[in-house]
Every structure is written in structure tokens, then in C-alpha cells.
């Protein structure tokens, strides 16, 4: 069984994988690469933070101590390159992590369509806690908002903003969600 396991991504997939591998292999060296500046929080839960259904501290599902107790090492950084030939992941700043087994649990990020005005102030995406904080700040003084996207995040985001009393328009390409 592989002894050096590197998991890139600290979402539910990466963390669940780390905990499951630990349960199966008590001696493996398990490293989770966390590219976020915060700890281990629920990204799908950000829409519920915006809706006021859950306070920010409750989004954090695991503490640093939880990870240490499970003997899962957390490395803050952003993976920029994989070198399969010599089994190494390279992080920004040239830190390298050797691995026997590599799991990429990167999730997804919002796509900014190439349309006029996409870079104007007030046009935002929701991928991180910092994004959610920015949206909350924008919503405080807003009277109208527009949410674009046909996925569950966009739908929940529209619900969340509307629940704050902001007149919200929801745009999607298809006729039905």
C-alpha cells in the first residue's frame, strides 16, 4: 500500500478521502494541500451563509486539531505543477511534495463568461469565504441584484440574496432549472 499520499484540495471530497485513507492505513503519511487562506469550511454552505441560515463559524467542519489528531498533515499552498515522472507535486514558492499516490480533489470554480462588462465592479463569483463576505457587503447597500447560472449554487444564491430584501433577478439559459 502507498505510504506517501498527497491530496490536493481541502473540500469535503479531499478531507473525506484523507480520513478514509487514514482509517484504512494507520501508518501512511497523508498530506492535504490547502489552497484556501482559511481553514476547513463548507463551500456549498456559503450560499446558506448568504441566506442567513447558518453563521460563519458553523461552516467550519473540522479544526486544525481534528486534522492533527487524525495525523493528517496540512500544507498551506497552491499546487502549480505535477511531475509524474518523479512523483512530486510542486507548490507556488517551489515547495515540493513527494508522493506514492496523488489525489486531485479540486472541486470546481465559477466560470466568468467572456461578455462585455464582466470585469466591472460589483460583478462577482462565489467560490470562497472571501467571495461570500464580499457579496454580503455588496448586498448590504443593494436594492437589486442579478444572479446568472443554472446550477444549484446559483439558485441557492438567488434565494439567499432575495431573502435579504434585495430585488433579485435570476437568469439561466434553459427554460427549467
Amino acid at each position: 500500500m502507498a505510504d506517501r499520499i498527497v491530496i490536493v484540495g481541502n473540500g469535503p471530497a479531499g478531507l473525506t478521502a484523507a480520513e478514509t485513507i487514514r482509517a484504512l492505513n494507520p501508518t501512511a503519511d497523508i498530506v492535504v494541500v490547502n489552497g484556501d487562506t482559511h481553514g476547513f469550511y463548507s463551500k456549498p454552505g456559503l450560499a446558506y451563509l448568504l441566506a442567513g441560515l447558518v453563521p460563519q463559524p458553523r461552516l467550519f467542519s473540522r479544526s486544525e486539531k481534528d486534522m492533527a489528531d487524525a495525523q493528517i498533515r496540512v500544507v498551506r499552498g497552491r499546487a502549480v505543477r505535477v511531475s509524474p515522472a518523479d512523483h512530486r507535486v510542486v507548490l507556488a514558492g517551489d515547495t515540493t511534495l513527494p508522493y506514492d499516490c496523488l489525489l486531485l480533489a479540486l472541486g470546481a470554480t465559477a466560470v466568468r463568461p467572456d461578455i462585455p462588462g464582466i470585469s466591472l465592479p460589483g460583478v462577482v463569483t462565489l467560490d470562497s469565504l472571501d467571495d461570500a463576505r464580499l457579496i454580503l457587503k455588496l448586498a448590504e447597500g443593494a436594492t437589486t441584484a442579478c444572479v446568472v447560472g443554472g446550477g444549484i449554487t446559483a439558485l441557492e444564491l438567488a434565494e439567499g440574496i432575495a431573502s435579504r430584501g434585495v430585488e433579485t433577478h435570476y437568469l439561466m439559459r434553459g427554460e427549467h432549472y
Binding site: 469535503p12 473525506t16 463548507s42 456549498p44 454552505g45 446558506y48 441560515l53 447558518v54 453563521p55 458553523r58 461552516l59 467550519f60 467542519s61 441557492e156
Partner: protein, 75 residues
């Protein structure tokens, strides 16, 4: 019939709404994300976590401890 809260782990996004709304402060999310039942004896089965989970992760399930049996003695 007595019941307790069970979870379908693959639906859980670990948002924490269940734990936040538990009036007794039970770590419901900690069970839900692992697919474990909320087995705390002091759980009120009030249904707050089941009703508020936005992803349909939680549900009530009848407890086998109190299931009716043919001889009425639990055998």
C-alpha cells in the same frame, strides 16, 4: 413508535445547519457526514435537523429497540 435520526452521507455538504439548529447542541453534522445515526440517548428527535437540512441528508428511522414483536417480549 420510537425513532432516531439517520443520514445519507453522500448528500451531506457539511454546511452545519443541522448542528446549528439542534437545541441540545448535538454534533449532528459529525454523524451526518459519516453516515452515522444520531445515537445520543438525550436526542429529543424534535426534527429540527431533519426539517432544516437543505440537501435532504437526514431522515427519521424507526428504532429497532422498540419494534413490535409477535410475543410482545422483544423476541
Amino acid at each position: 413508535m420510537s425513532a432516531f435520526v439517520v443520514s445519507e452521507a453522500v448528500r451531506c455538504v457539511e454546511c452545519g445547519i443541522c448542528s446549528f439548529n439542534c437545541p441540545l447542541g448535538i454534533d449532528v453534522r459529525g454523524r451526518a457526514r459519516l453516515g452515522l445515526p444520531v445515537a445520543e440517548a438525550y436526542c429529543l428527535t424534535c426534527g429540527e435537523c431533519v426539517a432544516r437540512c437543505p440537501r435532504g441528508t437526514l431522515r427519521f428511522e424507526a428504532s429497532p429497540v422498540f419494534k413490535a414483536t409477535s410475543d410482545g417480549m422483544g423476541h
